[in-house]
C-alpha cells in the first residue's frame, strides 16, 4: 500500500520506513515557531520542566515572531514582548523578528514563508492553530499548545498520531472572479467545522496547482476551521521558485503514491465554483454571495494571515480603483513586506496603497490587528453591533471584539465589492 505525502514526511521524521493512520509516533522537529501570545507561557513551562539554565535543543530551529498584540498600549501585552526579548538574548536565538525594530515582520504564518522558514518535506510545529498554513509548501505543519511547544524546546521531539488524509481535487480552471477563499469556504461548508477533525486535508488538481503560493497558503490556512490537523499541497516548480529565492537550505519534495489510501476523495469541477461567504457565527455557515446580497454591512476588513497578502490586496485594489467606499474599510497588511509591496505594486499607474487611500479606506500596521479582537484599542476591532464583511478566517461570536457584532467571511474580491456598495456584493458586479 502506498503512502500520502503527509505519511511519507511523518515516517521520514520518525525514522520509520512506513507509517499508517492511527499510529502514534515520535517525530524529530525541524522548526518550532512561537509568538507573543503563547511564547511567554511556553518559556515558563520550558524553564519549570528543564531548569532555569536549560538550553533549547537547537537554536537554529526556533523562530519567534511577535504579531498578535504589538501595536497596543496594554501593559500586559508589552510585558509579554519583554519576556520574549529576555529569552532570545539568553538563548542567543538567531530568528527573532522583534516588534518595534527594523527586523519586525508581522503575522507569523506569512513571515515564516517570506523569511524562508517554510521548506518542502520538513516538519514545523507552531503555537498557533493556523500553523497549518505552511502545508502550502508541501511540508507537515500543525498548531500545538504551550506544553507541547515547551516539550519540543527541550527535546526537539513530539508525539503525533498519524492522521488519515482527505483529498480535495479541483479539475479544470477557476473562473477569474474566484479566489482561494471561495474554494475553502465552499469545502468547509460541505464538510462542516468538524468535518476534517484529526485529519490532513490534501489539496490537489490542475486548478489548485495554477494558484500562486499566496493563494495556496489561503487554502491551507483554514484547514483548522474544518477541524483539520494539517493541510498539504504537493510542492512543484512554483513552490521551489518561491523557496529558493528565500533560503539556501536544502529541502526534499515528496509526492503521494497513486495507490495511497485516503479517508475520502472528493472531486470538484473548478469551472463551476461561485463566490461564497460564511455567515455569522461559524465558518461552515455557507451561502452563495448572491443569496445574501441584501445584507447591509457597517464595515469591510481586509487583512490577517489568510486575507492580508499582496495577492489579496491586488484583488481588492482591482475592484476599488477609481471608486469610493461606502462603509468604514480597514486594510491590514499581514507583514512589512506586504506593506512595502502596497507602495510598490501599481494598477493603472497608481500604487495599491494610493488606490485604497483615494477610495477612503484606512491602512493599519502589519499585525493580526482585529482578526482576533484583542485589547480595546486594536485597529479595526468591533466594539458594538457592527456587521462586518471580512477576509479573516473566524467568525465565532466575539472573535473580532464585540459579542454583538456579526462577521461574514469572504474573499478579498467580495470584501472590496461590498465596501463599495454597503451590502454584501458579488464581485462580478465590478469585474468585467
Amino acid at each position: 500500500m502506498g503512502m500520502t505525502i503527509t505519511e511519507k514526511i511523518l515516517a521520514a521524521h520518525a525514522g520509520a520506513a512506513t507509517v499508517k493512520p492511527g499510529d502514534n509516533i515520535w517525530v524529530d522537529v525541524d522548526v518550532l515557531m512561537t509568538h507573543d501570545v503563547c511564547g511567554p507561557g511556553t518559556i515558563g513551562i520550558f524553564k519549570k520542566q528543564f531548569g532555569e539554565h536549560a538550553k533549547v535543543w537547537d537554536r537554529e530551529k526556533v523562530v519567534i515572531i511577535p504579531d498578535h498584540f504589538v501595536f497596543t498600549a496594554d501593559p500586559h501585552a508589552k510585558r509579554n514582548l519583554e519576556i520574549l526579548r529576555d529569552f532570545v538574548s539568553e538563548q542567543q536565538l538567531p530568528y527573532f523578528y522583534d516588534a518595534g525594530t527594523d527586523n519586525y515582520k508581522g503575522v507569523c504564518h506569512i513571515a515564516l514563508a517570506q523569511e524562508g522558514h517554510n521548506r518542502p518535506g520538513e516538519i514545523l510545529f507552531g503555537t498557533d492553530s493556523h500553523t497549518c498554513t505552511s502545508g502550502a509548501f508541501g511540508m507537515f505543519s500543525t498548531g500545538i499548545g504551550n506544553t507541547d511547544a515547551a516539550f519540543i524546546l527541550g527535546t526537539g521531539k513530539l508525539w503525533v498520531k498519524v492522521p488519515e488524509t482527505m483529498r480535495f481535487e479541483f479539475k479544470g480552471t477557476f473562473p477569474p472572479y474566484i479566489m482561494a477563499k471561495d474554494i475553502l469556504l465552499q469545502v468547509i461548508g460541505d464538510i462542516g467545522v468538524d468535518g476534517a477533525t484529526y485529519r490532513a486535508m490534501e489539496w490537489a488538481g490542475d486548478a489548485v496547482m495554477k494558484f500562486s503560493m499566496e493563494e495556496r497558503m489561503t487554502l491551507c490556512n483554514m484547514a483548522i476551521e474544518a477541524g483539520g490537523k494539517s493541510a498539504i499541497i504537493e510542492a512543484d516548480q512554483v513552490t521551489k521558485d518561491y523557496v529558493q529565492k528565500r533560503t539556501d537550505k536544502p529541502f526534499k519534495v515528496y509526492h503521494s503514491d497513486a495507490d495511497a489510501a485516503y479517508f475520502l476523495k472528493k472531486i470538484y469541477n473548478a469551472d463551476e465554483m461561485q463566490p461564497v461567504v460564511a455567515k455569522p457565527h461559524s465558518p461552515d455557515n455557507k451561502a452563495l454571495v448572491s443569496e445574501v446580497s441584501d445584507v447591509k454591512i457597517d464595515r469591510s476588513y481586509i487583512g490577517s494571515c489568510t486575507g492580508g497578502k499582496v495577492a489579496d490586496f491586488r484583488a481588492a485594489a482591482e475592484i476599488m480603483q477609481g471608486r469610493k467606499v461606502k462603509v468604514d474599510t480597514f486594510i491590514v497588511p499581514a507583514t512589512r513586506e506586504v506593506e512595502a509591496d502596497l507602495h510598490k505594486e501599481k494598477i493603472g499607474g497608481k500604487t495599491l496603497a494610493e488606490i485604497f487611500v483615494e477610495a477612503g479606506a484606512s491602512l493599519g500596521e502589519p499585525s493580526c490587528a482585529a482578526c482576533l479582537g484583542g485589547p480595546k484599542d486594536t485597529f479595526g476591532r468591533t466594539n458594538d453591533k457592527e456587521v462586518v464583511v471580512s477576509t479573516t478566517n473566524r467568525n465565532f461570536p466575539g472573535r473580532m471584539g464585540s459579542k454583538q457584532s456579526q462577521v461574514y467571511l469572504a474573499s478579498p474580491y467580495t470584501a472590496a465589492a461590498s465596501a463599495l456598495t454597503g451590502r454584501i456584493t458579488d464581485p462580478r458586479e465590478f469585474l468585467n
Binding site: G41, G227, P397
Partner: protein, 187 residues
C-alpha cells in the same frame, strides 16, 4: 490522578470555540504568577453568548461576577468542543476555575491534546449526546477506572469512551512526567 470526580455539571452546546472559552483580550495575563493567573478563572467561558451559557435555560454565568472559581466541576459539552485557536489558556482557564473533567461528544484536536499533555483535566468522550439529558447544576459522578458517568439525580449511568493510548500520559500527570517515566528525558 483522582479516581472519582464528583460535582455539579455545567452544560454547553456544540462548537464551543476557544474565543468563547477565553476571549483574546484576556490572553495577556501571566499563567505562572499565582495571583494574576486567577484572572483566567474569572473570565473562563465569559465569551459564551448568554443564550448558551448553562443549558438548557442559558443565562447562568459559569463564574459568578467578582469570583475566580466556578461552583461547577464537570463540563458537559456537545460536538467539536474547544475548536479554534491553539491557546492553551483555554484548558488552563477551565482548570483554574475548578473544572476537573469535561465530558463531550467530540473535541477539536489541539484542545484535546493540550488538555492531556498539560494535565489540566481529563477530556472524556461520550458515545451519545448528553447535553439534552443533563441540566446545568445536576450532580454528576465520574468513575475514572470504570469509565462511567453517573447522573446522581436519576441514577442513570453512561459508559464513556475509552481514553485509549493517552491514558498513559493522563496517569503520569502530563507529557513531561510521562517522558520521565519512559526515560525520554532524564528524571
Amino acid at each position: 490522578m483522582k479516581k472519582i470526580i464528583e460535582g455539579k455539571a455545567y452544560v454547553l452546546g456544540n462548537d464551543i470555540d476557544t474565543d468563547q472559552i477565553i476571549p483574546a483580550e484576556h490572553l495577556v495575563y501571566s499563567l505562572s504568577d499565582p495571583e494574576e493567573r486567577k484572572n483566567y478563572g474569572r473570565y473562563a467561558l465569559s465569551g459564551v453568548p448568554a443564550a448558551g451559557a448553562g443549558l438548557p435555560g442559558g443565562g447562568q454565568p459559569f463564574v459568578k461576577e467578582g469570583q475566580t472559581e466556578s461552583e461547577y466541576r464537570i463540563i458537559v459539552g456537545g460536538r467539536n468542543f474547544g475548536c479554534g485557536s491553539s491557546r492553551e489558556h483555554a484548558p488552563a482557564c477551565l482548570e483554574i476555575a475548578g473544572i476537573e473533567a469535561v465530558v463531550a461528544e467530540s473535541y477539536a484536536r489541539i484542545f484535546y491534546r493540550n488538555s492531556v499533555d498539560g494535565g489540566f483535566f481529563i477530556p472524556f468522550e461520550t458515545p451519545a449526546p448528553l447535553t439534552e439529558e443533563i441540566k446545568t447544576g445536576d450532580a454528576l459522578r465520574i468513575d475514572v477506572d470504570a469509565g462511567t458517568l453517573t447522573h446522581l439525580p436519576s441514577g442513570k449511568i453512561w459508559t464513556l469512551k475509552s481514553l485509549g493510548e493517552v491514558i498513559e500520559i493522563i496517569q503520569a500527570g502530563d507529557i513531561f512526567e510521562y517522558a520521565r517515566k519512559t526515560g525520554m528525558i532524564p528524571g
